[in-house]
Amino acid sequence: MLPATALALGVLAALLAWPVPAALARARWPRRDPLAALVCWQAIGLAGGLSIIGALLVHGLSSWGHSLPEAWWHWVTRQPAQEVVRGDHWVAQTLAAVLALELLGVLLLSGVRTARTRRRHRELLELVVRPGAAAPVEDETLLLDHPAPVAFCIPGARPLLVLSSGMVAELDEAQLDAVVAHERAHLREHHHLLLLPFVAWRAALPVLPAADRAHDAVRDLVEMRADDVALTSLAGPDPRRTLAAAIVAAAGGSGGQVPEGALAVSGGPVAVRVRRLLAPADPLPARARWTALACAVALLLVPTVLLLLPALV
């Protein structure tokens, strides 16, 4: 008998599928502490998957034992069920398997596909970039001959940092340093790994608006985090303004490209970045930060404990 556990997990899954991500995406504190918010998003993603699959599994196996490990063991060793197995139990088992396979499969597929694209890009860059055309800032930075002001990095075992000639022309030296520091922060903190599950799950769960929202939130937070890290390494009288100016200059140069969808004029992610650089809010107090982190840990612990402990009565 595991129905209370299944119900609790189901409720948790429902909360994590809609109200919790919606609240976090709307909240204003994440831009004061992007790192803590990123941890929370990872916890939401992981706990969400765990609780929905767990709920289905617990219900599907409820006739086989009193706790999930026990029921699972009985099921795997093909012992007869202790109670009547109804059709909905089979449906729940199947759904759990399908969902688990889909989430993991899509994650794997997305990782492989991305790695392949990155390798192709890296090969292309190594062939196309003129030898000795290192950007003025850093030896390991590649300079791509293109008028659009673009900077990006290709993560991996041999990460690449790429600046376009348009970017170099558009920015002064301090601003270029800021851009490079920003990109380097992405690479050092492996932000692509934080983003990967959300890219994959957005693809896996197109019906879930929260998946979209979570992806966008994580993408924007990663940029803010990189801005914050970049600031710590920048010299100069006003690094915040330098970085903000670099962002605006880079955005302006690519202007007219493709305004993707209808970005709210005041709420677009670029504007948020520039605003928080120019008029920084106070950093989150230590207590609030620890509360956020504790919530993240609790989010992971609750479904884990529900799954492992004997059934609630």
Binding site: H146, V222, V270, V274
Partner: protein, 121 residues
């Protein structure tokens, strides 16, 4: 030191520079200062073909030509990175995404406003 990557670039640069199909023998002779064996030239050409930078015809001996100019390849890459095609996630971390005209105007005002605030100080 002739690493494969370096050789690939050298051969491709040469094909671009000549702008006409070349045989492997001709490539070896043109790049004689590199001291390449014919097999090495073929290895390099095969790798370039696999990567989609070089193509060969059916004549005898085979003639190799560059597929697309350097500018074509850069344009393709930028097209992907700028988010109009392909897998946006791959080149993560593009420094700034696309911005509409209205947002651009507002960004400039934001920056100008902050500059005025800072100026008297």
């Amino acid at each position: 030191m002739n690493t494969l990557g370096e050789l690939e670039r050298t051969v491709l640069e040469h094909l671009w520079a000549v702008g006409a199909p070349l045989t492997a023998t001709r490539l070896r002779d043109d790049l004689t200062d590199r001291g390449l064996a014919l097999t090495t030239v073929h290895t390099v050409l095969t790798r370039l073909e696999q990567k989609g930078f070089v193509d060969h015809d059916d004549s005898r001996p085979r003639q190799f030509r560059a597929l697309g100019t350097r500018e074509d390849h850069v344009a393709d890459l930028m097209h992907e990175v700028l988010g109009q095609a392909g897998d946006r996630q791959a080149a993560l971390a593009r420094f700034v995404g696309s911005v509409g005209d209205d947002e651009m105007r507002m960004l400039r005002e934001l920056l100008a406003g902050a500059g005025n605030d800072a100026a008297p100080a």
